[in-house]
Amino acid sequence: MNAVLKDTVHTTAPLAVRGLAHCYEGSSVLAGVDLVLEPGSVLGLIGRNGAGKSTLIRAMLGLLEPLAGEAFVFGEPALKLSDDSKARLAYVPQQPEALAWLTAQQMLDYVGRFYPRWDATFARKTLERWKIAPNKLLAKLSPGERQRVDLIRALASQPELLVLDEPAAALDPVARRELLREVALRAGESGTTVLFSTHIVSDLERVASEIAFLHEGRLLLRCGVDETKERYARLWLPAKMSAAAPDNSLSRRRHEDGSLSLVVERDAYGQWPEAAKLPGARIDALGLEDLFVEIAE
């Protein structure tokens, strides 16, 4: 039964990994990550610098062989991906890709031939809007410009699966908003599945349907963006009440005056833990950024 279930997940999900573990020079980066992306979902991967986001993305796509675990793309083992599946996905790494001896326009014309649904008009117009000289060698562009060219390449191929590693770093606020709009509309209208990592939480709150929070090589939280905001809150208990703190909280911080801050979760009936009703106790709604700071500390 379990095996059948797993097989169906892998054949339908654009991305699926199980038990991914990896380490660099003896120190663990990924410590058993399970993750499945449903078609049409926009998953925002968040975590501190060095949390393992890029490693996870590279392992999910088969660009890195993990120490343990399995990765599937469109149901195929990620390490042996067919050309057909490669044409259905686009990946923009943080570090610019090769082909630096070509100009931006030459590179786009060249790679466009490998994609059956290449949108040359989009590529041309976006180069112009994002102020990239089409005839300048890629090697002569700044790292930010290189990443913008890569984003254009990824979007013009009209992929079914779009994977972006920290795409916001290279973009000014106007271009960033434009990228988010593309991501949001493509997911909503063409059913594009999107995985993007970022440390800019408000970007993720706009377009992501789900979030995954990677912390010290593990996924701490995986749920819908709206649901996360409605389900978690900070409970503050004055010092004399702190003994009544619930045991199951995501984080717990004691202040100098003895009072206690906890990240708590609603139960199955939508109720906060009993301690929230104690005199002096306070429940504060949390934005995602506050929630992550509380958990990651």
Binding site: L180, A184, G188, E189, V201, G287, L288
Partner: protein, 127 residues
């Protein structure tokens, strides 16, 4: 009306879909958007604010369920022409008048006294 009438604060603890429903409620109650007026399409709204179209659909769906909006065939979402909330009890009772007259006629035809009919009706209404 256009999408710029709405403001979205992605970082607020309140989910974006709730922000949209809340603003719709206020804009309609305050008369800034009139009954019958069309709302921006899901695409326009999602594109303008760079938010997930599902978030906008969800907000519109909730507002429709509350009777704030109605779906016009082939045109999209509009502010509901008749809103439940604006009706008094008296007005709503008036809507039932034809059925009540019909019932009274049947009772007389069957020569039933009023009392058992009212008892039965009270029971049907769940007390």
């Amino acid at each position: 009306m256009d999408a710029s009438l709405f403001t979205i604060q992605p970082a607020a603890p309140e989910p974006i879909y709730r922000q949209l429903v809340e603003q719709l409620r206020r804009l309609i109650a305050g008369g800034q958007i009139a009954p019958g007026e069309l709302l921006p399409s899901v695409r326009e709204m999602a594109g303008f604010h760079a938010v997930n179209p599902m978030t906008v659909s969800r907000a519109y769906g909730i507002a429709e369920g509350e009777g704030l909006l109605e779906r016009l065939r082939g045109k999209g979402m509009a502010v509901a022409a008749t809103q439940k909330a604006s009706h008094t009890q008296h007005q709503r009772l008036a809507l039932l008048e034809p059925q009540l007259l019909e019932l009274a006629r049947h009772v007389r035809e069957l020569e039933l006294p009023a009392e058992p009919v009212l008892r039965r009706l009270t029971k049907l209404l769940g007390d």
